[in-house]
């Protein structure tokens, strides 16, 4: 079995300061669901530490609990047992502080609001908690490459553009951590490559922590500083693989020997999940 590394949390390139603290820390996390027929252990004994400012990708087959883990961090699902803290507090407190931005697989834009109004939504909900970010909704749309489409309605935007709006919306209330649940899974490969590049740019510009769930080995390797490989039935950590690629990554990085070696290692791990 090839290198299965539990630590160190950071790969070469853009390491956050050593004492910046932890964005997410969990120990022995357990989540169970009950359906009519059987009980499903979505997460079993998950222990993990994510540094502030880290880009962690979560990779694994369907049903390995990747999305469940994101939802536990976002306080959408309560774990049955185990401990979890998000920026030093329970997830509920982090949610109430608006530390969390969530990007779903479905952009879930409100069709009756134009792009700008969709990005403004987080500032109009639970207003007393809403935190106005350094960037205005207009600037966020520019950041994700949608300058000029502020007044377009979702049905007038392509799938990739809708997902960009959804990312801008997640950033609107200035979260400290961005949780992304297969955000580019429904997009074509060309759009997906471009959005991957831009997501890395946005991440490096904002210095935000990102947890990114994906089914794609290439995406996981290209985006992350570490790849958390998960296995299904029950959902658990299979391996944590550090990504030793330069911080400046372009699509050409995907042809480098390092990248190829990494993806083939990830594939080998995935096959034994």
């Amino acid at each position: 079995m090839s290198a299965v590394v539990a630590a160190p949390p950071l790969a070469a390139g853009a390491p956050p300061p050593a004492n910046a603290g932890l964005a997410v820390s969990c120990r022995n996390l357990q989540v169970r669901f009950f359906t009519e027929r059987r009980a499903i252990t979505a997460l079993q004994g998950l222990s993990l530490e994510v540094a502030v400012g880290e880009f962690l990708t979560l990779l694994g087959p369907s049903g390995c609990g990747k999305s469940t883990f994101l939802r536990v961090v976002a306080d959408l699902i309560q774990p049955n047992s185990g401990e979890i803290s998000v920026f030093g507090a329970v997830p509920e407190a982090a949610r109430l502080r608006r530390d969390i931005g969530f990007v779903f697989q479905d952009p879930a834009l409100l069709p009756w609001r134009n792009a700008l109004q969709n990005v403004e939504l987080p500032l109009q909900v639970a207003v007393s908690r809403a935190r106005r970010g350094k960037a205005t909704p207009r600037e966020l749309l520019e950041l994700v490459g949608l300058k000029g489409s502020e007044l377009a309605y979702p049905h007038e935007l392509s799938g990739g553009m809708r997902q960009r709006v959804s990312i801008a919306r997640a950033l609107a209330s200035d979260p400290k951590i961005l949780l992304m649940d297969e955000p580019f899974g429904a997009l074509d490969e060309i759009t997906r490559d471009r959005l991957n590049e831009e997501l890395r740019r946005v991440w490096r510009e904002l210095g935000i922590t990102v947890l990114f769930v994906t089914h794609s080995i290439h995406e996981a390797a290209y985006l992350g500083q570490r790849v958390l490989m998960m296995a299904a039935n029950p959902g658990r950590v299979r391996a944590i693989v550090p990504v030793t690629l330069p911080a400046d990554r372009t699509l050409a990085t995907r042809e480098s020997a390092g990248f190829v070696a990494l993806t083939s290692e990830l594939r080998r791990l995935l096959e034994t999940c």
Binding site: R98, W112, V125
Partner: protein
């Protein structure tokens, strides 16, 4: 001798020709689409006329279209003065029935237990035919305008309730999760998410309710009313005045058609987004 430049000009000309032909075809298609339904209606009236003439149908059994048209003109004052109360009852019933339905739907969506207890009761009441409910309400509420409004409201109530509940619950699940991540209150989820998701559903119910409310008002007037289109229908039937009967039917159809179109216009004005592209 044709040069390459000439060939290019020719090509662009033939593209222009092609476009002109395409636009022409489109124009013809639009005209056809408007013409054909009119053709159906005109054809039906012509058939009716022919049957009445050929078989010498007695005027007290069925009038000719011309006789109906004459009655519409000659008795226009009587018809209009009877249309107004019916229209008022239908409108009153429409407003009352739909408002109550929307309020109950809101309650149902926020309180599942209430929905589970009372929804079967509503379904049971709805399965009683309108014509059977009408006498009960007349007995309860007397002979005034109230039972008519109540009947019109009752027939509007059910479709709007069912569709509103469905619409308020037809929220994109990820949009719902988003609202929870944002720590939105129930009120915010309702006014920023549920209401808008429900509007397309609500309007398809209101379109039904618009014509149903007229039916409700007319049926209400069948029992012991002295004015209104419903009362006219009953009187004309007893008097074998088929021309007046048909004229009254035309009036009620015009009323429910107008109500329907008003709702459609409102819908177009309010729902400017594409509900399917979530």
């Amino acid at each position: 001798m044709s040069t390459p430049a000439d060939a290019l000009v020719d090509a662009s000309r033939s593209i222009d020709d092609e476009e002109a032909r395409y636009r022409d075809a489109q124009r013809r298609e639009r005209r056809r689409r408007r013409l054909l339904p009119a053709l159906g209606i005109v054809g039906l009236i012509a058939l009716w006329w022919a049957v009445v003439e050929v078989f010498q149908v007695k005027p007290f059994i069925a009038p000719s279209p011309w006789a109906v048209l004459q009655t519409l003109y000659v008795k226009r004052d009587v018809l209009l003065s009877n249309l107004i109360p019916t229209a008022g009852e239908a409108l009153g019933g429409f407003l009352l029935g739909n408002l109550v339905a929307i309020a109950v739907a809101t309650l149902f969506v926020h309180n599942r237990r209430l929905q589970e207890i009372f929804f079967p009761v509503v379904v049971m009441f709805n399965s009683i035919p309108v014509v059977a409910k009408a006498p009960i309400l007349v007995l309860l509420m007397g002979n005034g305008v109230e039972p008519k409004i109540a009947i019109a409201a009752l027939v509007c109530f059910f479709p709007t309730l069912v569709n509103s509940v469905r619409g308020l619950e037809a929220v994109n699940p990820q949009a719902m999760e988003l609202m929870r991540v944002l720590s939105a209150s129930k009120r915010e989820i309702f006014f920023k998410l549920r209401v808008f998701s429900a509007l397309p559903y609500l309007f398809s119910a209101l379109r039904i309710a618009a014509s149903m409310s007229v039916i409700g008002a007319v049926v209400g007037e069948w029992i012991g009313a002295t004015q209104g289109i419903g009362a006219m229908i009953i009187q004309a039937t007893y008097n074998f005045d088929s021309a007046l009967l048909y004229a009254a039917i035309v009036m009620s159809a015009a009323l429910s058609g107008t109500a329907f179109m008003v709702v459609v216009a409102l819908e177009r004005a309010i729902i400017r987004w594409h509900p399917e592209s979530v």
